[in-house]
Amino acid sequence: MSFEGHLFLALLEGTVTGFVLALTALGLSLVFGVMRIVNVAHGEFFMLGAVIAWYFSTLPGGFLPALVAAPLLVGAAAFLADRLVLRRLEYKPESTIVATIGLLYIIQQLVLTVYGPYARPVAAPVYFRLDFPWFGYSGYKLVVAGVSAALLGATWLVMSRTTLGLYMRATQQDREMAQAFGVSVDRVYALVFALGAGLAAMAGALVVPIQQAHYLMGLDALLMSFIVVILGGLGSLGGTVAAAFLIGVSDGLVSVFFSPTLAKIVATLLVALVLVLRTGGLFGEEGT
């Protein structure tokens, strides 16, 4: 395959990775921005989405209903976790880190007990190949990118155009003043936590036909989400999405031309470099 072929493949893979990464990390960014808590269990919500998607693929209804059920079920679980755990800790930064670490292990071990230690594949719900001059490419990956893009757009619309989004942004900027204008911060927090988990579950469900479902798959998702959120600037959703593409495309380029392991090293170094040069990340704190 020619150099152009490799370059095109790298950019294509990188863009798809960028979309999935953006969708995976968006919830972490949202939760940190609005609630000021670091959700260490974020990757487990991603994993739960994937496992639920596998489970649905074994049912007569097939894989597609999972794209609705996984985010709803996981969102509901997160809503409960907020009510039963985080709210009782009054969302204190240190306590919630410890609590979400606990949540991580509870979810992981529950899945290990119920689902087992297997990596299980799921057949893609749509199968077609796109033929480029140099190679054929899985159409499902492009579907994943498209659905991710639609969800990113929908999240942006909710944040910028709806009353709920306005309340979320106001809460992020000044929690007390939001209350002084009638915003029930408790309710906003519960919704944000559920929404963040639902987005991660959606990402997990979408990638199952590419990656297989496994009870430890949340760890990599968590690491990559952290990298992207920190790189993009804590509290900035736009920064998170931009950083996801930066990491995705650099990952694609390095993986194709060198090796996937080197790509992870480069991503981690990139974060370290950005943090040394710009403590607040690429985009820093902003309202949306």
Binding site: D174, M177, A180, F181, G182, V183
Partner: protein
């Protein structure tokens, strides 16, 4: 009528409000005076439910506010212009006002009235609030609170950092509220300003009410001015 009866508040172990009682009638302008740390801001925060009182009660038109959650209190008809303005800096001017309008669901009619009071905001609805000048931010903070159509407005040092022309405008706004029968509880450091606009003044010291009178009586009482405010006239 806003009534505060025997309010006691603590920050941890520190007893910051001791038996504070206040009355505010519709259309009345009551000014809270006192040195830094006297408890003026805490009194307003307690009324907003942001500092839970340990004992005492707060009521508006006979409706008990004590024990309500903070986000229910503005719904009862209390507007808040906090110290330092605390507008939402990354929201636009229009979105800041919308935060107030949504509370009442009054929509464009409420907005029109508020923009008539603060014409400079009219052309800036799409601008990020954090990019406004200090004077404009003060207008926005007041406008935002008025969008909730409050019966009582709590204002915490609204004149802070304003140039004289804007202070005159602020006083005009407060008087316009009086005409609309809004009660104003004003915390102020500038004694002259307070004496010019208030119907009654209350002096706080160390979290207790020490003196209450008309502004005229306070102005002609140099001993009280010196003792509680350190002002020589």
């Amino acid at each position: 009528m806003l009534t505060v009866d025997g309010l006691h508040c603590y920050y941890g172990e520190a007893h910051v409000l001791k038996d504070v009682s206040l009355r505010l009638s519709p259309g009345e302008i009551l000014c809270l005076l006192g040195r830094n740390g006297a408890g003026k801001t805490t009194t307003l925060r307690a009324i907003m439910g942001l500092v839970p009182p340990r004992s005492g009660r707060i009521a508006l038109d006979g409706r008990e506010l004590t024990g309500l959650r903070p986000h229910d209190i503005p719904r009862c008809g209390i507007g808040y212009v906090p110290q330092g303005r605390r507008i939402f800096p990354f929201l636009t001017v229009g979105e800041n006002l919308k935060m107030g309008l949504l509370l009442k669901g009054s929509g464009d009619a409420g907005l029109a009235w508020v923009l008539d009071l603060f014409p400079p905001l009219r052309g800036r609805l799409g601008q990020r609030a954090g990019t406004l000048s200090g004077g404009e931010q003060q207008m926005l903070a007041t406008a935002r609170a008025l969008c909730t159509e409050p019966k009582v407005l709590l204002m915490d040092e609204p004149s802070e950092g304003l140039m004289p022309a804007l202070i005159r405008r602020l006083l005009d706004t407060i008087r316009a509220l009086k005409v609309r029968q809004v009660g104003v509880l004003l915390v102020e450091q500038k004694i002259d300003l307070a004496l010019r606009v208030a119907d009654r003044v209350v002096l706080l010291e160390n979290g207790s009410v020490r003196y209450e009178s008309t502004p005229e009586a306070l102005a002609s009482n140099p001993e009280v001015l010196l003792r509680y405010l350190g002002v020589r006239r």
